[in-house]
């Protein structure tokens, strides 16, 4: 059965590794897709929020010169109550206007430092404990003079990813366990010939061992592997001959002839 157990352990490892791979890939893909879907939505929300600032800058006004900036920044927040902060930054990444939590250091918010994508419309990335999207504000010549940032609590996406991970893991574990049992059955059936053959060899070795130590045959002993049995006998005889002792067979023959 050693052959069966070893093969079953490997088959189980294969099933569970495939399951783990599936869970890992699904989770990574889900996180990537979720971030992308959310990021794209935030970019569109941010683009409508950044439009009034771009128009002001195109007219030659500084970003800080937009008088109703805080009211304009409330418009993006109305589209999704979960948006946790909206800010306008100038070209040096200094905050001009905005409120919200999550972002402490605006100097880190320049596009090349954090962006995982390089869309013309802006960038989105996970920064600290928030998911942040940045939408550039351009002047009339197309030069970037600032950006509008929108932050979204990371817990939302984290909770969704973890919930999906837990659900997928549970079902994959269940299915893997069922197929592990099926693999056991299939292996036992398909390897029956090898397992049985091996059992016979092991039984013969065991019988021979028993006979050497007890100097008598087992009642139910049968020799299945003639070749192996003959070699076992011959090796034992050679050993005893070299020791100068008669083998059990020789001793028996001697006793028989004496009687």
């Amino acid at each position: 059965m050693s052959l069966f157990w070893r093969s079953w352990v490997v088959a189980n490892s294969v099933i569970f590794v495939v399951g783990i791979l599936l869970v890992t890939f699904v989770t990574l893909e889900f996180k990537r897709d979720y971030d992308r879907l959310l990021g794209e939505r935030l970019l569109v929300i941010g683009a409508s929020g950044a439009a009034p600032f771009s128009r002001a800058v195109e007219l030659g006004l500084p970003i800080s010169g937009v008088r109703n900036a805080s009211a304009l920044l409330d418009i993006p927040r109305q589209t999704d109550p979960l948006i946790s902060g909206v800010w306008v930054l100038d070209a040096q990444s200094r905050m001009v206007e905005g409120t919200g939590g999550h972002i402490r250091d605006f100097n880190r918010m320049s596009m090349p430092q954090v962006a995982t994508n390089d869309f013309e419309e802006g960038w989105y990335a996970t920064v600290g404990s928030a998911f942040v999207a940045g939408i550039p504000i351009h002047d009339g010549s197309g030069q970037q003079v600032g950006q509008l940032l929108i932050s979204y609590p990371l817990e939302v996406s984290r909770t969704r990813v973890l919930a999906m991970l837990a659900e997928v893991s549970f079902y994959v574990l269940l299915i893997a366990s069922a197929f592990s049992l099926a693999a056991g059955g299939l292996l036992r059936v398909s390897m029956a010939q090898e397992i049985d053959g091996f059992k016979i060899v092991v039984a013969d070795l065991d019988n021979f061992d028993h006979r050497v130590w007890t100097m008598q045959r087992r009642d139910d002993e049968t020799a299945h592997t003639a070749n192996l049995r003959a070699m076992l006998e011959r090796s034992r005889t050679s050993y005893l001959n070299l020791l100068g002792k008669p083998s059990k067979q020789e001793a028996t023959e001697q006793t028989n002839s004496e009687t």
């Binding site: 050693s2 052959l3 070893r6 093969s7 352990v9 490997v10 490892s13 294969v14 099933i15 590794v17 495939v18 399951g19 791979l21 599936l22 890939f25 699904v26 990574l28 893909e29 889900f30 897709d33 979720y34 879907l37 959310l38 569109v44 929300i45 409508s48 589209t79 999704d80 999906m164 997928v168 994959v172 299915i175 893997a176 197929f179 099926a182 693999a183 299939l186 398909s190 390897m191 010939q193 090898e194 049985d196 053959g197 091996f198 016979i200 060899v201 092991v202 039984a203 070795l205 021979f208 061992d209 299945h224 592997t225 003639a226 192996l228 070699m231 011959r234 090796s235 050679s238 050993y239």
Partner: protein, 654 residues
């Protein structure tokens, strides 16, 4: 009962492959059905948020227009407005503006997305439906219009299809490794101890008590081995005058090196699907074209392998296959780390060249081990096993399939560098596995045998036949692999926007066909005793692909081309080698020339391919290869006809 009757490795391997493949295919399919439902349901809220957001944006803009008193049917360019609104949202299939009583006013939709009603079999099966919204446009107190937004299930379907394919190819890799692990576990735990026991028994039955070995295997077997060891030690202790020091018996088995080689090739060839893209992505001098930069790492690999191959066998014999492999694998891991950290094309090409030299050392060490183990097995044991060369090539191609697939998936998810570093880790793992399992006598240095049989003289007819096989057939076949599989396919697919994972899957198909078709072709053509027929059929397949394939075609055409080319090359490779050996009358000199010409053909093809690509004449590269292949097929066919029509041959056959 002979031991081989109850434990045939080939039969066991076949059964393990069948059982594991069945179980993995069924479990992945069931897991995937569940994932499909969970994935769709988990993404649905965000997809709904997006669809609703578009609806709300369109509605508020329309309301603003209508509040100004402009009648809806007078508002021009609603279609353009709707197009702009849905442009950032690739999953939205349709946006429409309707009157209050439902008459259609304006509508835009994406033709490439399937409608919600055609959710697809699997989507319909698990009940994941796309989002759909109908929002009223209210001016004053009355509803004047409606905005309708409809998503498409295709977004979720595409994502899931990618996951399914990625997991599918990785499952294949896991099954491949799993089968080899199972075989190794059976070898280490059962048939190697049994082989050692038989060896001791045979020796002792003949009255020779010299060898001892490690007791292992199931209970009674380990006990018997222990007793045999004790008998030897006892006799040596009692009669030291016999001068018999004990000899520690280490039997070798081909299974010792299979897993090692598979993991090594998988790691070292993890770049197979993206090497030209990686070469083109790093910085290069202004004098160097992108096409040349893409070809350089592939070319340096061919040079590296060609330079070291003739000496690797001698080195493995001199320093021992195991030691040399472990050293080469450790250095390969370092070179791959260098390849991952390289930032210029020169360092990339250099690192890849070093990997190639070490690749040749490591793979030929394994081949040496397998050949030694095979001859040792034939001498000492009666267990049936696979031949060394079959095992060697199975692991090489298995490693290439797995490496290209794994590299594609990992580089797509993370980066090229991450994939190369993973390759380095795999190579190190193979070194560790080799340290533990390649412990047979075949891994030790082999004393030099001076002198030897004179190489047989080759007749002039055979010499011309040999030249045709090597130069007219071998070189173009190698050039086709280097140019089409390694170089043009990754570049062209990347240019059409395909991800590294998709490219990996396509390139993998070529090697997969080699793995599957080679043994079948060998079996069929060995029965027919006709290598030439197999080669000609393979050349016809290859030429057909090269003539018919359009490089600007879609990925499906590449899938077909790779599969057919793989089948064609599977029909050529082994029979060609066999025909070269037969014509030369030896497996040495001309075979080395053949290997050298193969690499030279690859190099020249690659150089020409990059030149043609930089001049915009890629189709010409394929057409030239196609003509060369066709010429090879015709030449061999004519040679075959002439040979068969010779009277002496007819007499022999009669």
């Amino acid at each position: 009962m002979r031991s081989s009757d109850f434990i045939s490795r080939e039969r066991l391997r076949l059964r393990l492959v069948v059982v594991m493949t069945t179980i993995v295919v069924l479990s992945v399919a069931s897991m995937f059905l569940v994932v499909l439902s969970i994935f769709g349901a988990a993404l649905a809220p965000e997809l709904e948020n997006r669809t609703r957001f578009i609806g709300v944006t369109v509605r508020s803009d329309l309301q603003r227009v209508l509040q100004l008193g402009i009648p809806l049917d007078a508002a021009a360019g609603i279609e353009g407005f709707l197009e702009n609104a849905i442009a950032p949202f690739p999953e939205v299939r349709r946006a429409a503006v309707l009157t209050a009583d439902g008459a259609l006013l304006a509508e835009v939709f994406r033709d490439d997305l399937s409608p919600a009603s055609e959710g697809g079999g699997l989507i319909a099966l698990v009940g994941s439906a796309p989002s759909q919204f109908l929002l009223p446009v209210i001016v004053g107190n009355s509803e004047v219009a409606q905005v309708e937004i409809e998503g498409s299930p295709q977004f979720v379907q595409t994502r899931l299809r990618d996951i399914f394919l990625d997991v599918g190819v990785l499952s294949f890799v896991v099954v491949l490794i799993g089968v080899e692990v199972a075989i190794l576990a059976a070898a280490v735990g059962i048939w190697k101890p049994y082989g050692r026991l038989l060896y001791l028994l045979r020796e002792q039955a003949q009255g020779r008590f010299r060898s001892v070995t490690r007791p292992s295997g199931p209970g009674p077997m380990a006990r018997t081995i222990k007793r045999m060891n004790d008998q030897v030690r006892d006799l040596v202790r009692r009669a030291p005058s016999r001068g018999g020091l004990t000899r520690h018996l280490r039997l070798s088995d081909i299974a010792d090196m299979r897993l090692v080689l598979l993991i090594y090739i998988m790691g070292a060839e993890i770049t197979a699907s993206f090497l030209p893209l990686y070469g083109a992505s790093v910085s290069r001098g202004s004098w160097m074209s992108e096409e040349f930069a893409a070809a350089l790492p592939v070319g340096s690999f061919l040079v590296g392998v060609a330079v070291l191959s003739p000496f690797a066998g001698g080195l493995a014999r001199r320093f021992g296959a195991r030691g040399l492999f472990v050293l080469a694998a450790a250095l390969t891991a370092l070179a791959m780390a260098g390849l991952a950290l390289a930032d210029t094309i020169v360092t990339v090409a250099l690192a890849r060249g070093v990997v190639a030299v070490l690749f040749a050392l490591a793979s030929i060490s394994c081949q040496q081990y397998a050949l030694q183990a095979q001859s040792e097995t034939r001498e000492t044991q009666d267990l049936s096993g696979a031949s060394a060369s079959t095992s060697f090539y199975a692991m090489i191609f298995g490693g290439l399939v797995s490496g290209s697939a794994l590299g594609g998936v990992v580089s797509s998810l993370f980066s090229y560098q991450t994939a190369i570093l993973l390759g380095a880790v795999l190579v190190l793992t193979s070194a560790a596995v080799a340290m533990v399992f390649m412990d047979g006598a075949a891994g030790r240095p082999i004393p030099n045998v001076t002198g030897g049989a004179e190489p047989p003289r080759i007749s002039s007819a055979n010499r011309s036949h040999l030249n045709i096989l090597i130069w007219v057939i071998g070189a173009p076949v190698a050039a086709t692999t280097a140019v089409f599989v390694w170089y043009l396919t990754p570049l062209e697919l990347a240019a059409s926007g395909r991800s590294p994972a998709e490219i990996g899957r396509v390139v993998m198909l070529y090697y997969l066909m080699l793995v599957i078709v080679t043994p079948l072709a060998n079996f069929v053509f060995r029965r027919c005793q006709s290598e030439a027929t197999s080669i000609i059929v393979g050349l016809v397949f290859t030429a057909a692909v090269l003539f018919l394939h359009d490089l600007s075609a879609d990925i499906v055409a590449y899938v077909v081309a790779m599969a057919v080319l793989g089948v064609g090359h599977a029909l050529i490779r082994t029979p060609l080698l066999s025909a070269v050996v037969k014509a030369a009358g030896t497996a040495k000199g001309p075979v080395n020339v053949f290997r050298g010409v193969e690499r030279l053909g690859g190099l020249i093809g690659l150089a020409a391919g990059s030149l043609f690509l930089s001049k915009g004449l890629t189709e010409l590269a394929l057409t030239s290869l196609a003509w060369l292949t066709a010429v090879g097929a015709v030449t061999l066919f004519v040679g075959l006809v002439i040979q068969r029509s010779k009277p002496d041959n007819r007499e022999i056959s009669e």
